[in-house]
């Protein structure tokens, strides 16, 4: 008959390192992200040829065309799916590992 099966495990966990980190309460604590992680996007203006294919495949309408036939990304509408990166024939779009995207106004959340 098993009762209190977790007792030994729970007791030894008192002395081991915990599985959580003090992310925002201590400065510099965090867990690193991997290289395929899709964070905030980065856009190479010079490589872009203005084909506007990314606008047709963006699910949330986060990409809009500007006057010089280049594009503008709205980070607050982006869902970080990565389809624009796949569709672009010139590899002008990439994703960084920045996930702490905070701003005090919507104008700062635009990548040109």
């Amino acid at each position: 008959m098993k009762i209190g099966y977790m007792l030994r495990d729970a007791f030894w966990s008192l002395f081991k390192k915990p599985a959580t980190v003090q992310y925002l309460t201590k400065h510099g604590e965090g867990v690193p992200v991997t290289e395929r992680y899709r964070g905030k996007m980065v856009y190479d203006r010079d490589a872009c040829i203005g084909c506007l294919l990314c606008i047709r495949t963006c699910p949330s309408g986060a990409i809009t065309v500007t006057d010089e036939r280049k594009v503008m990304f709205r980070v607050d509408r982006c869902i970080f799916c990565g389809q624009c990166m796949e569709t672009c024939p010139k590899d002008a779009i990439g994703f960084t590992s920045d996930f702490e995207i905070v701003a005090l106004g919507r104008e700062e959340l635009v990548v040109r």
Binding site: M1, K2, I3, G4, Y5, M6, D9, A10, A19, V33, T34, R36, Y37, R38, L53, R56, T57, C58, P59, S60, I79, F80, C81, G82, Q83, E86, T87, P89, F95
Partner: protein
């Protein structure tokens, strides 16, 4: 529920308790009006669609590429199942056959998602019976799988791995090795969790609770582990194989139990994790080589897909997921209909709850693994 005469004995001690839409026992909003006399449940009334987002209507305004990402966001736990079902249907209409490597990678992520969903459910079940420590422990095991997801696909919850005609990102050789190596660790931890679920205090809460005999399960059309725990042997992976399951037929078996109570459902899910580990090990051993997605750009592909309709089904972690798609020939969708597994299982709750105690409500509701954001899309 409405329109049938209910014979309820009216006594002075009859209470009506609202469980939900906001309740600590539920993870997602659903409303049960439970009539109770002291501690015994007399009647249950159900109301859905608190999380309705009109996804089927939204799908008619987007083209096929954009719809793939919309389908993924119906549910966070079974997101890959939704995209797999959708792309299978579209590939069926367009006559596109993905390569063998793409199908095997799809299946690998599919089974990893099954493990992660069942581990999440085990933690939730432990929380419902008051066992916080097991909840934290199970989710700590699940973190390893989420880390694997992040390394291979780039996202912990929404993988965005599927594309029409194949998969998006390839698995390098050491990623495959890493997956196979972490399966050892996960198997050991799952065996530990299996032992804890046989603890006396846990077994007292789960056994004999929420009985659903196999005849009623068949009449009410339950699917998934809920049906398999009542003795019905139904699994789409064996009955109607999709993706790479045709060639993996011998690496796994369907887990059924005859207990038909919550304990049987728990056992079915834990043993399904072991079967999924077997499948993943088989795939990691013999992953065929090749390229993973068609050469054409995706926008040209979807413009070539003709008008037509298709039904496709997959075995999501909660049961059979069914999609009906009608395309309009110009890369858009005319009609989309989704039948999620929880929609089929939630009708069985009334039969399970009547005659039980109040203390059984969270256990029974959690034991059908309700994913209500799938249900009220």
């Amino acid at each position: 529920m409405a329109g049938e005469t209910k014979e309820v004995e009216y006594g002075y001690s009859r209470l009506i308790i609202p469980i939900g839409p906001v309740h600590p026992a539920l993870k997602e909003p659903v409303h049960f009006r439970v009539s109770v006399r002291r501690e015994e449940i007399i009647d249950v009334d159900l109301r859905l669609s608190h999380a309705h987002r009109a996804i089927e209507a939204l799908a008619e305004t987007r083209n096929l590429v954009q719809n793939m990402y919309l389908m993924e966001r119906i549910c966070g736990i079974c997101s890959h199942s939704h995209t797999t079902c959708f792309t299978q249907a579209v590939e069926g209409i367009g006559g596109i056959q993905p390569s063998e490597r793409a199908l095997h990678i799809r299946t690998l992520i599919f089974e990893l998602e099954r493990i992660h969903s069942h581990l999440l459910w085990l933690g939730v079940m432990a929380y419902e019976i008051g066992f916080d420590t097991l909840f934290m422990y199970t989710w700590h095991v699940r973190e390893r799988i989420l880390d694997l997801f992040e390394e291979t696909t780039g996202g912990r919850v929404h993988h965005s791995m599927n594309t029409i005609g194949g998969v998006r990102s390839d698995l390098t050789a050491d990623m495959v090795e890493k997956i196979a190596a972490s399966m050892e660790r996960i198997e050991k931890d799952t065996r530990y969790i299996l032992n804890v679920f046989q603890d006396k205090t846990v077994e007292k809460r789960l056994s004999g609770v929420g009985l659903l005999d196999s005849r009623t399960a068949k009449e009410l059309c339950t699917v998934g582990p809920t049906a398999r725990a009542s003795g019905l042997n139904m699994d789409i992976r064996k009955d109607d194989p999709f993706a790479a399951y045709e060639s993996l037929k011998d690496s796994f078996s369907v887990v059924t139990r005859t207990g038909a109570d919550s304990y049987a459902r728990t056992e079915v899910r834990i043993y399904e994790v072991f079967e999924a580990i077997n499948i993943i090990r088989t795939i990691a051993d013999k992953l065929p080589s090749g390229d993973i997605s068609p050469e054409e750009s995706i926008l040209r592909l979807i413009n070539k897909i003709p008008e037509g309709e298709m039904i496709s089904r997959v075995e999501a972690p909660r049961g059979e997921l069914l999609y009906y798609i009608k395309t309009d020939g110009e890369g858009g969708i005319k009609r989309l209909k989704i039948r999620t597994p929880t929609l089929a299982n939630v009708l069985a709750l009334r039969h399970m709850l009547v005659g039980g105690e109040i203390a059984d409500i969270p256990v029974v509701v959690a034991s059908i693994d309700p994913c209500l954001s799938c249900t009220n899309r």
